[in-house]
């Protein structure tokens, strides 16, 4: 079974005759005998997933690394966190997936058409199953709890991942957008309700 280990801003993927899927172009070095080939958009999910990605304008380009050896993966000097999933579900902003082991399925979750104008956080990737997923963040992750009766609002540009049973909605509770000549700032915010944890990074994309 391939093992993912985070070393600050670099991910070690130790392969023993199996494979992991990693963000295209994220390989910085490798030892042993490893083959790399493009896994295409989404790396699974079939035609329906590909169509959803096209509609949502969200693409995730993955490559398959297979063989035996160690692959060093990194991107934009972002911090790497390895998450273990035991028959569970994690929602990740697609740009922040560095690698996934076999046994995990990726699918695009489509948050609806109204998000189309905002461009961020409307179609996130859900990772389900059992295995390891390495996620990236600019700066250390900040974990914020969502509990019933205590909703959380985050800037779509800092959202990285989420767990648990939460409902996400786009709110435009920022009134300055309507003031003529005073644009900028956050036109939309993401509001989370329910029960779960939301992970954000301290840097806007």
């Amino acid at each position: 079974m391939a093992v993912l280990t985070a070393d600050k801003r670099v991910l070690h993927a130790d392969l023993q005759g199996d494979s992991v899927r990693a963000a295209s172009g994220s390989m910085v070095a490798y030892t042993g005998k490893v083959e790399f080939k493009s896994a295409g958009m989404g790396g699974g999910g079939g035609f329906r997933a590909a169509l959803k990605q096209r509609v949502a304008g969200e693409s995730i380009s993955l490559m398959t690394c297979s063989g035996a050896g160690r692959v060093y993966l990194a991107q934009d000097a972002m911090d790497v966190t390895v998450v273990q999933l035991q028959n569970d579900r994690l929602t990740v902003e697609s740009d922040h997936i560095l690698a996934v082991t076999d046994g995990l399925q990726l699918d695009v979750q489509f948050a609806g058409l109204r998000g189309m104008t905002s461009g961020q956080g409307l179609a996130t990737t859900t990772v389900t199953g059992t295995g390891q997923v390495a996620i990236m963040s600019e700066g250390p992750l900040i974990a914020l709890a969502v509990t019933p009766g205590e909703p959380l609002v985050v800037d779509p540009d800092v959202y990285v991942a989420g767990t648990g049973q939460t409902q996400m909605s786009l709110v435009s509770g920022v009134s300055w957008r309507s003031v003529i000549g005073e644009d900028g700032g956050e036109p939309f915010s993401l509001r989370f309700e329910g029960n779960g944890t939301v992970y954000i990074q301290p840097a806007e994309r």
Partner: protein, 251 residues
């Protein structure tokens, strides 16, 4: 089951009150109003409203008194209500400072938020603002802040701000000056390596530096420089225009 993310999970109660969450984010315990720079909010709990400064000022007249220059009103919003407000700035380090009936001048793009007891004024140095009064404010820096005491010369790019001492004057490297004078002033442009021009601080006080600086888009600075071009006659303005066009095409 999900494991592997070993960061503390915060909620509305456990988030720090007016303290750093980590080096790159800060949690404001909001109960009333704070001025925040547009886009500085990264998350919040509770009932918090964000309104444009101009819109808020029409309801609360004291707001106008805090903004001595209309130049900056567009870059700021009033966060009002109750809750925890998390502030971040592109992964830069964030520090909070307390002013007690004092004054501090800081680069406008690095100022993220300030309490309503402080007054924002336009500094005589372009791109900088001066805070006067009593209260807390948040500022970001590229890397940790370095504090130094005058007499001191700083690179304009690395200068974050200064407190209590007089405004700086320009200083040019002696050798560079001598060369420039010999070869004619026209040579002035195109010969700069970026290190000849320095800010010279004298008197008593503290100078704040950051370890590096990436040039940022600053709409207020653009308006200041644009207003100053009014001093030029039509011919000079045209010349300046040509130079700027050439520069934007090079970039």
């Amino acid at each position: 089951m999900i494991s592997g993310i070993d960061t503390t999970v915060y909620d509305a109660r456990t988030l720090p009150a007016n303290d750093n969450v980590n080096a790159y984010s800060f949690s404001i315990d909001l109960n009333g109003e704070w001025f925040t720079s547009k886009g500085a909010m990264i998350a919040y709990y509770g009932n918090i409203d964000f309104s444009a400064v101009s819109a808020y000022a029409s309801r609360a007249s004291w707001v106008a008194a805090r903004f001595a220059s209309p130049l900056y009103a567009q870059e700021w919003v009033v966060a009002s209500g109750r809750g925890k407000l998390v502030i971040g700035d592109r992964g830069n380090d964030i520090n909070s400072y307390d002013l007690g009936d004092g004054n501090l001048t800081i680069k406008q793009t690095n100022l993220l938020a300030f309490e309503t007891g402080l007054e924002l004024k336009q500094s005589i140095v372009p791109g900088f603002v001066t805070l006067i009064g009593t209260g807390k404010f948040l500022a970001s820096s590229n890397g940790p802040v370095i504090f130094v005491e005058p007499p001191f010369r700083a690179d304009p790019e690395a200068l974050l701000g200064w407190a209590d001492c007089p405004s700086p004057s320009h200083h040019y490297d002696y050798n560079w000056m001598a060369h420039s004078l010999m070869s004619g002033v026209q040579m002035l442009f195109g010969r700069e390596s970026g290190e000849e021009r320095q800010y010279d601080f004298t008197g008593k006080g503290t100078v704040l530096l950051q370890s590096s600086e990436v040039q940022r888009h600053d709409p207020a600075l653009l308006r200041i420089v644009e207003a100053q071009t009014q001093m030029l006659d039509a011919h000079s303005a045209g010349q300046l225009g040509h130079k700027l066009v050439a520069r934007s095409q090079q970039a």
